[in-house]
Symmetry: C2
Subunit: 494 residues, 2 copies
């Protein structure tokens, strides 16, 4: 794998002088087109061996391109705000929006590599983490990002020479740390693991480009040209036309047994029992949040459901039991301008809670496979892949000790109609009913299929859906409270 | 000041039951109007004595209002991302946008109060900090925010009773901390300092509302009604018409001696000297950033100037000398949707650098007193007050060990014309010239006056403007590099 990067590539001063002006002009031009068309974001990863010239390469890209539209991220130590969230949070929060270039040194590859070499994680876990990285990058590419990954390589002797060379010159001595020498002792091990890593994460959408790091001119010219040609190619490719296909069910429906239709919608609870149960579970929830173990958890609650199914009311029963300092309710409506310039999951990553906190989503990332699917706001391919991306996202939350509790609040068509009409009548409920609600209602069957698909494809062992029969609001509220308490309890017992 | 809050206010159960339904409906209604009109943000501060019922009050507001459009912030320990920035950063980053309600427990008043009582800061510094807080709140109000400040008061005996009462019940025991008893020993001192604080920060725009904390029903009803009436009043007041007045100079210009016109625009540097100096100052700048003291500083560089004055080129000469990992260039264009929903300085607070980093602004917050003033994008009152707000902002940066370096790059009208024409001719410079540039040029005189006002009113000892004669680009670049080096050097010597 590293063969071609140990051949002693060298670029003469003459070639350099001849090539550079056109390259720089081309890069600036491509960057300007990118900025104006806002077609996609560019994510450049600069990784590789210690002192292989990562920093210098990033500096020269910043020199050649217009640095005003580049964001360089050298992520080293985690801040405490990052420590309390899933590993990928720090990257999500600084992803470049469409039209911009983000350069990363110190990428999502660093930690698994180093931890494997030094024995922190075994090969099996390494492979798992690499698999997750691949899925993450695939999602970025599917969301339109241009992901360019450069690996700066030095041979064993090459790296030794380089470390010594840098150390001799007082001007560059600071760049060689004890850690670099320490890592160098494990050169063969690093090489072996890097190779495994590059192999398993080099994909058609975002292949690794391995660059010999010895000769700066060779290094810069190779990377500069690779960046230019990739950007130019994407910029010059016309956008594929947006398909307005009809929405076929993923699986043919050949009988009437839909999961939603199996719910017993006649379930109710009488008023006295409701009041007793509500008090019981609110008290319980409050106690759970003051359990000593709760400081290590966080809770993400997702509310989806038919319009007028009573999401707001259920949320309020939860928040009543909590201290306002420890929760945030996130109402999800149309994305803002900044959010639209990012992958669709970006805006949810923004709201991930710290430890000891709740984030309660009133509608959520599932909009992608519900309203966006049914209304054709995204292509079939987009919502089809969203199931997997959402599962990946929730898995990361769970791995970070987040309890993910998802509710689908279901009402029948008749009950919905009754509530719509009631809402139109009552003054202070008027805001709860809009033309859109009526329009959505006309697509009841399509929504029903989408919901069933969603449940089948995203109800996982770690983050299951709870279907809530919500024709009786009180019944629904108790089921929600009880489920939430149980899930938190289970997590505390672990 | 606390007299009325020690009278033993009490609300009977009957009155409570009678009043609450209408209050809740009114609050929900006002909140909905706010959400739909997006007229202003509501900032509610809940402060006061320990165990005076702050948390419970915030909980009840969240219960009465729709919690989906409230953000509650209980800011306690600073995160390390906040620690490296000015004190007010943590509040700026969570300000509610127009249409939303932000509730703060643990406000900007806590630290000065506690520090003064325990002797960390003397009265003179307390007064300084309170004065800054007043200016901050005044700015929020001027930017349209509704700022409501509640102080929950308990008498000496009242607080003692309350602490004991909470401690007795196992369910509430956790709410009384050692710190609370510790503070209680200093009750008289806290009372004295609080009074001074409330007095000096109670203004016409945002007066303190002191509420007796003993009786919960009294407390909640008072605060609920105060919130409702303040919101309702603001919502029902029609927006004042936007004044499109002509822009008069602040000070009559009665001779030709404008500061910009006193510049010797014929200054040049010859090419050899330029190259030598550039290398010298780039080297120097690079060394300065590796000085051990630099880790405690941050640097904010502001570039303003005539169109085509060479801001981009000067910025590039700086970034060439730096490691890409330690700077960010922030190009300032029209604000995004999220930014427009906030006070105008909000988007700059977002980009404040951490320690050891540079933030280089290509155009800046000075847009308010330049383009926004000249083009009438804001009212006269808005840009007039901006001078003071900007000075306050920069003072906070400087107090946080930030070196603030501001450049005005000046070219003559003739030179600008030459560059515009040149840009139109050269392919890869085409993006640098737009119709807007030509339009701005027609308002040359108005911009000139605005610049002179800006310099007079915001060139402060701590953050002076450097006027750069930029008809010769090379001369300008050297002056920029030299000034920047000197300013950082001075800061390191302190």
């Amino acid at each position: 794998m590293f063969e071609s990067a140990e051949l002693g590539h060298k670029i003469s001063k003459e070639i350099w002088k001849k090539e550079i002006p056109a390259l720089r002009e081309g890069l600036l031009d491509a960057q300007l087109d990118l900025l104006q068309t806002k077609k996609f974001p560019v994510i450049i990863l600069v990784a590789g061996v210690d002192c292989g010239g990562k920093g210098e390469t990033v500096n020269i890209l910043n020199e050649w391109l217009d640095p005003r539209h580049i964001e360089t991220h050298a992520l080293r130590d985690l801040t405490d705000e990052e420590l309390e969230r899933p590993q990928m949070y720090r990257y999500w929060r600084v992803l470049p929006p469409r039209g911009k270039i983000g350069i990363f040194i110190g990428t999502w590859y660093s930690a698994p590599l180093v931890e494997n070499v030094y024995g922190g994680i075994k090969n099996a876990e390494l492979d798992q983490r690499l698999e997750r990285i691949s899925r993450f990058e695939k999602m970025l590419c599917n969301e339109g990002a241009l992901v360019l990954k450069f690996w700066l390589h030095l041979s064993h002797d090459g790296q030794k020479k380089r470390l010594k060379y840098l150390e001799k010159d007082p001007k560059t001595r600071w760049r060689v740390t004890d850690g670099d020498w320490q890592n160098f002792k494990h050169y063969d091990q690093f090489r072996k693991v890097s190779e495994r890593m590059l192999r398993s994460t080099s994909t058609a959408e975002s292949p690794w480009i391995i660059v010999e790091g010895t000769d700066p001119r060779y290094r810069y010219l190779t990377i500069g040209k690779a960046v230019l040609s990739a950007m130019r190619q994407r910029l010059d490719t016309p956008e594929p036309p947006h398909h307005e296909e009809p929405i076929p069910p993923i699986m043919p429906v050949i009988d009437d047994l839909l999961i939603l239709r199996t719910l017993d919608m006649s379930k109710t609870i009488d008023k006295n029992e409701y009041e007793g149960e509500l008090e019981k579970y609110q008290g319980k929830l409050n106690l759970l949040t003051r359990h000593s173990g709760f400081k290590k958890l966080s809770v993400v609650v997702v509310f989806e459901g038919n319009d007028a199914a009573g999401k707001g009311g259920s949320i309020r029963r939860i928040t009543q039991a909590l201290d306002a300092r420890q929760y945030r309710v996130i109402p999800v409506a149309a994305p803002t301008e900044e959010e639209r310039a990012q992958p669709y999951l970006w805006r949810f990553w923004r709201s991930i809670p710290r430890k000891g906190r709740f984030a309660i989503f009133d509608r959520s990332w599932y909009g992608r496979v519900l309203v966006e699917r049914v209304e054709g706001y995204c292509d079939r391919g987009d919502w089809m892949r969203a199931y997997g991306e959402i599962n990946d996202f929730e898995e990361q939350l769970v791995r970070n000790q987040t309890v993910v509790v998802k509710f689908w609040l279901s009402v029948t068509q008749q009950e919905q109609l009754r509530r719509f009409k009631e809402r139109e009548k009552i003054g202070f409920k008027r805001f709860k009913i809009t033309d859109e609600d009526w329009r959505n209602r006309e697509k009841w069957d399509q929504y029903e299929l989408a919901v069933c698909d969603m449940i089948d494809r995203t109800s996982t062992e770690i983050a299951p859906w709870t279907l809530v029969e919500a024709n009786d609001k009180n019944f629904a509220r108790i089921k929600v409270m009880k489920t939430l308490c149980e899930r938190i309890e289970q997590a505390l017992e672990k």
